[in-house]
Amino acid sequence: MDVVDNLNAVKNGELSRRKFNKSLLAMGIGLLTVPYTQRRALAAAEDQATYFTWGGYDIPELFTSYEGKNGSLPNFATFGGSEEALTKMRAGFVVDVAHPCNQGVPRWIKSGLFQPLDTTRLSNWSDVMPDLYNIEGNVVDGKPYMAPMDWGQTSVTYRTDLFEVEGEESWGMLWDERYKGRLGSLASGGDAWWCGAIYSGVDFENIDSDDAFAKIGETMRKQRPLIRVYTDDTTSLQQALASGELAAAMTWNETATALKGEGIPAAFAKPKEGALTWVCGVMMHKDAPNVDRAYEVVDSLISPETGKFLIGDYGYGHSNIKSFEAFSDDELTDKGLSREPADILNAGHYQVPQTQEWETRMNNEFEQIKAGF
């Protein structure tokens, strides 16, 4: 290709009309293609990994290291319950990383939609507490499927100024007739049904029996007329508690921590029957389109920076032991946490994986109860 000095050619009157048009054409093509080449270079949204998670985890604070490396946040998709998430992925929604909890892990693995993690690709893995990934069904052939991230409790958050506790804190607070129409609950059976089991005195080992279904169903039916709203949107519950619309609600650690942060008199109950405890983490889709970035998402989520935010601002436990360094024992106790997750997890009622049939039956049953039948 010969390079033509157009300027000199014009000066000397040597530029033919055809040559002039050619250079114009070249310039035009150049101008038109600039936006495309540039966008490629800057990494478009579709190049980022997609993280499918619970509402509330789609925030930049959890991805400081990912953002540092890739210049932008991963794409987010959110769900209200992990069962809903699994159905959506089974229907063909492909993501890179999803966020189940210990109770669902064996079923999620069984669905065949996920790949085991290569922990050598995770720089923070050595600091992850083994107690949290050696959970039932997670490690297959020496490889974990779920990298644990957050752990915590489902319990009652109540307004200390509006709710008068009779005796000890208890799950009975959410069944208290005095506060009819001022109680809230999570809508997902994945939390509510289990809490109902605790209040009914059903042992999680027997939660799959007809007897247990009948007993828990009866308990939940009794609660239903007292409940103002069932929602999976934790922000709604938090705002309703903040305004005084609700006096008490079933929530995760996060809501109580956030309310206290706003200076609202609220407490996260330690029910005498025991709270519901869980460990959640991230699993990688078998067809993850961006495996490298998916590993960066996982690594970012188990990093101590993320952990400090989760503990400090959300009040959840984190899987990285280094995350706890920034907090004193008193601070942790106040948040209902501990450096030894087992202390908390085993003190409460730890969710037990169930079969798919159980999940379907439970969800159907609970939805009917919520609808008033």
Partner: protein, 315 residues
């Protein structure tokens, strides 16, 4: 060759309509001969789209409604179990009834609110009619979700209505029935679908021949009789169209009841959504969708017959 061209030109001059189509090839001659074929070929793109986009999914829906779930998979043996369940378990019937009731109320209120607006623009606005119509539909340029959340703020526990009422000292405790109730769903739907009522009603009012109204006045009808004997019957097609446009989609709505309804405001759409999501029972979801379609169809038919009857009575 030259002969045929002449013959064609002659034929064309005697039958001018034939001139429109080039008379070459078998297909062209077919098209030329059958007017109905010309019609269908014009319709073809839309028909193909309809078949692919509506009939095929509908077929899948019907097929699936005869299956049963088996864990994650489906048991594809023919079974009427879902329909039996739908008929026997009270929850389904009750939710369908409730949905029909809520949508019916929302439709009625919307049409009643929008009729005067459309009437005003059609009869009393003479300049910048388009501007008026655009202004009336302006709120609908924002996202539906935003409008639902706006209503949440207005109706909420410490929302606009409650805080103004308590500010004026009219109430001591916030009114709790405003949000998370069937009323809240009806209010939100009424506002959300107003544009779909105003426009068809306006068009049918605009079309009314003004000389008919003059004639009615000449023959001694007062304003009210004139309205009920001339204007209203002539605008009924628009009212019907508006009612159908609102009633049919709102019966299956799930986002409004999910956000505004609370435990007692749940509608059949929510239950269908749950079947495809959390409850993981797609066959039951399909059955419920079909049951809903049939009930909406039946309700719409009743509405249609009633207007026909009314029209005949008035005329």
């Amino acid at each position: 060759m030259a002969d045929t061209t002449i013959a064609q030109t002659q034929a064309a001059s005697t039958k001018p309509s034939v001139d429109l189509i080039k008379t070459t090839g078998f297909l062209a001659s077919l098209l030329q001969r059958y007017e109905i074929l010309r019609g269908y070929s014009l319709l073809a793109p839309a028909l193909v789209f309809m078949a692919l986009g509506i009939l095929v999914p509908f077929g899948i829906l019907i097929t699936m409604s005869f299956w049963t779930p088996a864990g994650f998979e489906f048991n594809t043996d023919f079974s009427l179990k879902n329909y039996q369940d739908a008929a026997e378990r009270p929850i389904y019937g009750a939710l369908v009834t409730r949905s029909l009731w809520i949508s019916g109320a929302a439709t009625l209120i919307t049409v009643m609110f929008c009729y005067p607006m459309a009437y005003y623009v059609a009869f009393y606005v003479h300049r910048n009619k388009m501007l008026w119509l655009i202004l009336m539909t302006l709120p609908f340029w924002t996202s539906y979700l935003l409008r639902v959340f706006a209503w949440k703020i207005i109706l909420g526990y410490d929302g606009l209505i409650n805080s103004s009422l308590s500010g004026m000292g009219l109430i001591e405790q916030p009114l709790e029935f405003l949000l998370y109730s069937q009323t809240a769903v009806v209010i939100t739907l009424t506002h959300a679908w107003a544009a779909f009522a105003i426009l068809p009603i306006y068009v049918s009012l605009e079309k009314i021949d003004r000389s008919l109204l003059e004639a009615a006045t000449d023959l001694g009808d007062g304003p009210w009789t004139r309205f009920f004997r001339v204007t209203l019957p002539l605008s009924l097609p628009g009212v019907m169209a508006a009612s159908m446009l609102i009633f049919i989609p709102t019966v299956g709505d799930f986002i409004t009841p999910a956000l505004m309804g609370g435990p007692d405001g749940m509608m059949i759409g929510n239950l269908i959504q749950l079947q495809f999501g959390r409850a993981n029972n797609w066959p039951m979801g399909s059955t419920l969708a079909i049951v809903m379609m049939l009930s909406v169809g039946a309700a719409a038919l009743v509405m249609y017959l009633m207007t026909e009857f009314l029209k005949r009575r008035v005329a």
